[in-house]
């Protein structure tokens, strides 16, 4: 025992060295693969080497970090320094959607896409100022732990678990889906097989060592993902502008895009979207705001993603692992810094890709298209003239079939899947395959690290909150950890099985998770810390009302639009540019993936905007109607507010 802990503190003291060597080793590995490519090793072999080498490293870290202590398993022994916890949180936070999808979203939506960039960064201010450090002082293992303590026991705990599972399960499914997509695209593996390979990677990292293992692997994964994200675009920026800082040089690319947009309209290569008419495929200028989202929905997305950040259990629980409250605050700042490195680069990806597409694809003779297009066309990710861009001949035939087609590619002829933007950048820049492999490894790291964090959040809630606190409070340490691991396995397999069926709504559900977390958790957490008068009855009523309203709005608008119109006074959503209704509500309305009815034109991803204020109001009103919390409880709240002294809750 003594030797183990002195070995541990050696490790903590030498973190800089350990991860420095690791980062150096990783770069050497990339160079080595580059050399292998030069001597003629086939791309497919390089891809496999990349994926299996990185997963093997994560797995080794996971196995080395195995533990038999409960506090190590749940909160990594509360010894993770602020800087490294920030890095781990960065990896925990940035999912497959951030890594692969964000730049594509910005490409498609232009300025409006920045709602996501803002929403997924600014929330950390709320984490640090309102919630995170106080939960650290409280000393819980899970978020429902806090709700149970502050709000009178297991009913509040149970509600906390429901909110947690509702927002985390779809999210983890999306991550496993993401690993499947990346592995199948780069390794040519069958999607269903790839999903279970990804699952294996996730389990190896988390099962034996819980939070402790996940923390040390997430740091390793952060290093891989940030290197993979920045390298291609730094090279691209150097090629275009001679300066290796893409975040500064893309300002010029944006000016060039704006000039090219006007030229395209003038040359008849694009139709401008205007308030009179805005057909599908028409040009929406890159920097023009509110072309894709109404002003309400643009700011709604920013708000819901920000508040959602401060309510998501898998993020909040990362701050349970720091040695002190002070370090929890510093750690939030580091987290955002590491996240910022990726998010402020994503718009550069979007701008460079858009410039490439607008100058080298739009306006080009159909017979003269560049070959990199067809690889993605074969995967169904790029369409030209309404057909997958598989071969030159197919495209030429498809375009000829369109009446009055000029023989050059017009904007409205060209459709690209958003995932392609990041994945194809190395090819567009003409870089060797090894860089593409690096990007794949980065995407995988992003998906795996987020999946690990989420899986742990769910399994911990089930094992700690449901099993240990509600079912068998006398369970031994060995038994608790066995149950925790078994539940982790069950949840992981369930998520992988769900992902392998390719559920159609999976990506939309990630956005929903933020609103659900916001409506369910935020009012109760904030009032629990900042208002001593908040009572058990008030909090329980508030959670049910806020979460319930958000869930109701989501389900009704997505699956039962007709009922929404008939019974709940919903009206048609409108096009943000022309103001035309998206559906005639006088006729029967079928449920479609794109939302067509709602209240006040509110996008259902923003349902937290309805649920959260209701939650606050209900907690406030009901609390005032019920007797104030005991003196004892109020003293506990005072304790949470002072960093000094031990944790309020002494977890075993």
């Amino acid at each position: 025992m003594a030797t183990q802990s002195s070995g541990d503190s050696d490790f903590i003291n030498n973190l800089g060295k350990v991860y420095g060597y690791y980062a150096g080793g990783f770069l050497a590995f990339v160079v080595l693969l580059g050399l292998l490519e030069m001597v003629g090793v086939p791309n497919k072999v390089l891809g496999y080497l990349f994926v299996f080498f990185t997963i093997a490293v994560y797995a080794i870290i996971g196995v080395l970090s195995r533990t038999a202590q409960v506090s190590e398993y749940y909160v990594a022994g509360r010894r993770v320094p602020a800087f490294y916890n920030g890095m781990a949180t960065g990896a925990d936070w940035m999912s497959a959607a951030s890594f692969v999808g964000m730049a594509g979203t910005l490409f498609l939506l232009g300025y409006d896409g920045l709602a996501w960039v803002l929403g997924w960064t600014g929330g950390y201010v709320l984490v640090s100022v309102l919630v995170g450090p106080y939960l650290r002082k409280f000393g819980a293992y899970t978020v429902p732990d806090f709700l149970a303590f502050r709000f009178g026991g297991n009913f509040a705990r149970f509600l906390g678990v429901i909110v947690l599972v509702a927002c985390s399960f779809t999210y983890v499914t999306a991550q496993i889906f993401g690993t499947g997509i990346i592995a199948s695209r780069f390794l040519g593996m069958q999607f269903e097989v790839a999903v279970f390979v990804g699952l294996l990677g996730i389990l190896l990292c988390s099962m034996l060592g819980g939070m402790r293992a996940v923390t040390w692997t997430q740091i390793a994964q952060y290093i891989v993902l940030i290197v993979a994200y920045l390298v291609p675009i730094i090279i691209l920026s150097t090629q275009h502008y001679g300066i290796p800082i893409p975040q500064l040089t893309y300002g010029n690319a944006i000016a060039e895009i704006a000039a090219r947009e006007q030229q395209m309209v003038k040359d008849g290569l694009a139709v401008l979207c205007t308030a009179q008419a805005c057909p599908a495929g028409s040009l929406k200028p890159h920097i023009q705001p509110f072309m894709n989202y109404s002003t309400l929905n643009f700011f709604g997305i920013i708000f819901c993603m920000m508040v959602g950040t401060a309510s998501l259990p898998h993020i909040l629980m990362r701050y349970f692992t720091t040695p002190s409250v002070r370090e929890a605050r510093q750690s939030v700042a580091w987290s955002l810094f590491f996240i910022f490195l990726l998010y402020f680069s994503a718009p550069a990806y979007a701008a460079f890709s858009k410039l490439e597409v607008y100058t080298n694809i739009i306006g080009r003779d159909v017979a003269n298209l560049r070959p990199w297009l067809f690889e993605w066309g074969n995967l169904g990710l790029i369409q030209i003239c309404g057909k997958n861009a598989t071969t030159l001949a197919d495209i030429a035939a498809a375009c000829k079939a369109i009446a009055g087609h000029p023989g050059v590619v017009r904007l409205q002829d060209f459709v690209i899947n958003t995932d392609v933007i990041v994945l194809s950048t190395p090819e567009i820049a003409g870089l060797p395959y090894v860089i593409s492999g690096l990007v794949a490894a980065g995407g995988l790291a992003a998906a795996l690290s987020t999946a690990d964090g989420l899986l742990l959040a769910i399994a911990n809630a089930l094992s700690h909150d449901i099993y240990y606190k509600m079912v068998d409070p006398n369970a031994s340490t060995v038994r608790r950890l066995t149950v925790a691991r078994a539940l982790l396995l069950v949840v992981a397999v369930a998520a992988a099985a769900t992902a392998s069926t390719r559920p159609s709504d999976i990506l939309a559900m990630v956005g929903w998770a933020f609103s659900l977390a916001m409506a369910g958790n935020f009012p109760a957490l904030v009032m629990g810390i900042w208002w001593k008068r908040a009572t058990t009855t008030g909090a329980i009523a508030g959670i049910i009302a806020g979460f319930g309203l958000c869930l109701f709005y989501l389900i009704t608008t997505r699956y039962f639009p007709q009922a929404g119109v008939d019974y709940f006074g919903m009206t048609a959503m409108t096009n943000p540019v022309t103001g035309a209704p998206l559906v005639d509500i006088a006729k029967p309305i079928a449920a479609t993936a794109a939302q067509r009815v709602g209240w006040f034109g509110l996008n259902n991803i923003n349902c937290g905007l309805l649920g959260m204020p209701l939650g606050f109001l209900v907690i406030y009103v009901v609390s005032l109607m019920t007797a104030a919390p005991s003196k004892e409880m109020q003293a506990y709240v005072d304790e949470i507010r002072k960093p000094r002294g031990g944790t309020v809750l002494q977890e075993k």
Partner: protein
Amino acid sequence: MAPTDSKANEEAHWAATTRLMWTMLGIWVFFGYIIHMFVNQLNAIKIPILGFPLGFYMGAQGSLIAFVVMLFVFARKQDKIDRDHGYAED
């Protein structure tokens, strides 16, 4: 050290903490929302050399930098409040 456990000290600590909280939320609202409401007006201004329209730049980088800086400043200020009232950890 001040009489840390007196009711007055406790209340003063919490009042200072609350004040800092509202200040932070105010700056957060400004950089998260208010400045982006003027995106069209700001876009008329071009940042010299870099070439970004200012409204776009604030959404893509400016506000993000503000958030990061805010968090480091907040960590220091709150720590100072805790120290001044004798509630900081050792």
